[in-house]
Symmetry: C3
Subunit: 231 residues, 3 copies
Amino acid sequence: MIDGVCILGPVEGLDNARILGPCVLGHPAADGDERPLVLDPGVVIRAFAVLYQGARIGRGTTIGHGALVREGNVVGERCSIGSGVHLECHNVIGDRTRIHSGSFLASATVGRDVFCGPSVVFTDDPHPPCPCYRECLGGPVVENGASIGAGVTLLAGVVIGAGSLVGAGSVVTRAVEPGMVVVGNPARVVGRRDGLECFAGIFERAYAWDSGSDGSGATPPSSSVTVRRIE
Amino acid sequence: MIDGVCILGPVEGLDNARILGPCVLGHPAADGDERPLVLDPGVVIRAFAVLYQGARIGRGTTIGHGALVREGNVVGERCSIGSGVHLECHNVIGDRTRIHSGSFLASATVGRDVFCGPSVVFTDDPHPPCPCYRECLGGPVVENGASIGAGVTLLAGVVIGAGSLVGAGSVVTRAVEPGMVVVGNPARVVGRRDGLECFAGIFERAYAWDSGSDGSGATPPSSSVTVRRIE
Amino acid sequence: MIDGVCILGPVEGLDNARILGPCVLGHPAADGDERPLVLDPGVVIRAFAVLYQGARIGRGTTIGHGALVREGNVVGERCSIGSGVHLECHNVIGDRTRIHSGSFLASATVGRDVFCGPSVVFTDDPHPPCPCYRECLGGPVVENGASIGAGVTLLAGVVIGAGSLVGAGSVVTRAVEPGMVVVGNPARVVGRRDGLECFAGIFERAYAWDSGSDGSGATPPSSSVTVRRIE
């Protein structure tokens, strides 16, 4: 065990996880959740991360440097939770989803094969700091295969449809239909994701590498993707 | 004392504080401030936080994981300084104010019972990096009981009036009058806070739980708030 | 050596650097880069920072608390890489450039004497998560002496001209010409930087302290700047 790992409460699966630096595991939950922190086999935890009791991290998922995972989070398999990401309480995150550096999620429901860019902020209270926000709109819902650009803000309760794209820097105040592209503050529809040009001329169109352009069968990007250059 | 706590300079009140993980206390000030770091009774400091000499933290306030508190900060009682918050030099923060995760404050004056959402950025130089910015507009001023949504940017010197609401993702370029609601980039007035509907139907209107809707007598949200369901 | 410094791989120049708290040095590169982490003389590294193999940090540069510097970054001399900054792979950053707290850079080319405010996000993929994004637009390019305000989002491949100013909270979707000022989402030109008023009345105009207003000969701000008060 690396020096500097603080085990503050019950942790399951520590022996099959890779701990790559000083970190805090099993931090007591603020809400009294007494369940252990559960680490499925192959979980990787980087330096200065903090993981609470009552969180569950799926097989092969990586938790980045300085990330915070509070109680009640359920993170799927082969996800990437980036450096400095803050998972506030009670997010559910699907398999193979990537949450990039510095993003903040609260009460969110995120599907599988979702890409969430850096510095994205999820909110869960339309009128902060309402004492009853948990009984209100809830956190955002992001459906399978959607992509959320960098620096986006999602308002409480919005639904981001499967296979849609939210442009970088947007502020999303209402639902985004599946497969659509929205941009701006407030975000407005500017087209369909399957109508976007591939600037590099590698694919017939942007997202052609995604076998289900509605995200329902999204292929996780990898080096094995077949590249068809446009002549 | 937990392993990994680095005491780099003078700290007052360490015995009455709760230190919950490795952290750095009494970091030397860049401006030569030789005053100690002062921790009032009941302060809680979480793992990987860094607190400088010349800062003062009020009774019962919590400093989150990985937060940074530099010299010259004066933080009131029962505040929450969230995970990953950066308090640059010389902010003043009133009692019971909550600064949520990842926010950045510089030269700010923040009242009591303020809610500042995650990833809010306060600025203090209209023409960066001016060598004389300290003699210019100064940092933002946030009056008592105001709420600032997630992902907001506040320009140097703006005044956010008591009991106002700045919508998530807004960029505030001019003063916000007390009790108003502003949204957008640049932020524009869209109504009064006391005209907002309670979406959940729990209160007569949003913020009805706040006994002084101008924020002057703001009730800190808690489980003891009386909920009057609308029939 | 301070307790809690983890040396995970080869590091050159450790003896001439100042390490000011627990941190991780020489973290293995994800791309198999086997070059050492190179620290030029006078580098300062603050607590809870993580620096990877295959990064090079120039003479006299400071790496802030909790900052992350991945493989392939080349950082110039006398730079400031702020607290919580994430330098993803393969950025090049010129001398005397300041990247403020919480910013995120990916595949960026940043000149010298650049000011990048807090919570700025650089992106490098117009259609995330494209498996071929490295062959597409690349990261943003910021020319010498440009200033980027707080909370800005830069889209992939945009060029920010020398001596220009991007207003706080902007989303930059196209090139900014040298010396211009842009603001908004999307960012639009609102004037020239050399036409901005000095609100404090200290200089004849804003940025008059900058000896080359196109940034080509930008004077690094310091206390030695000559202040000519306007009568």
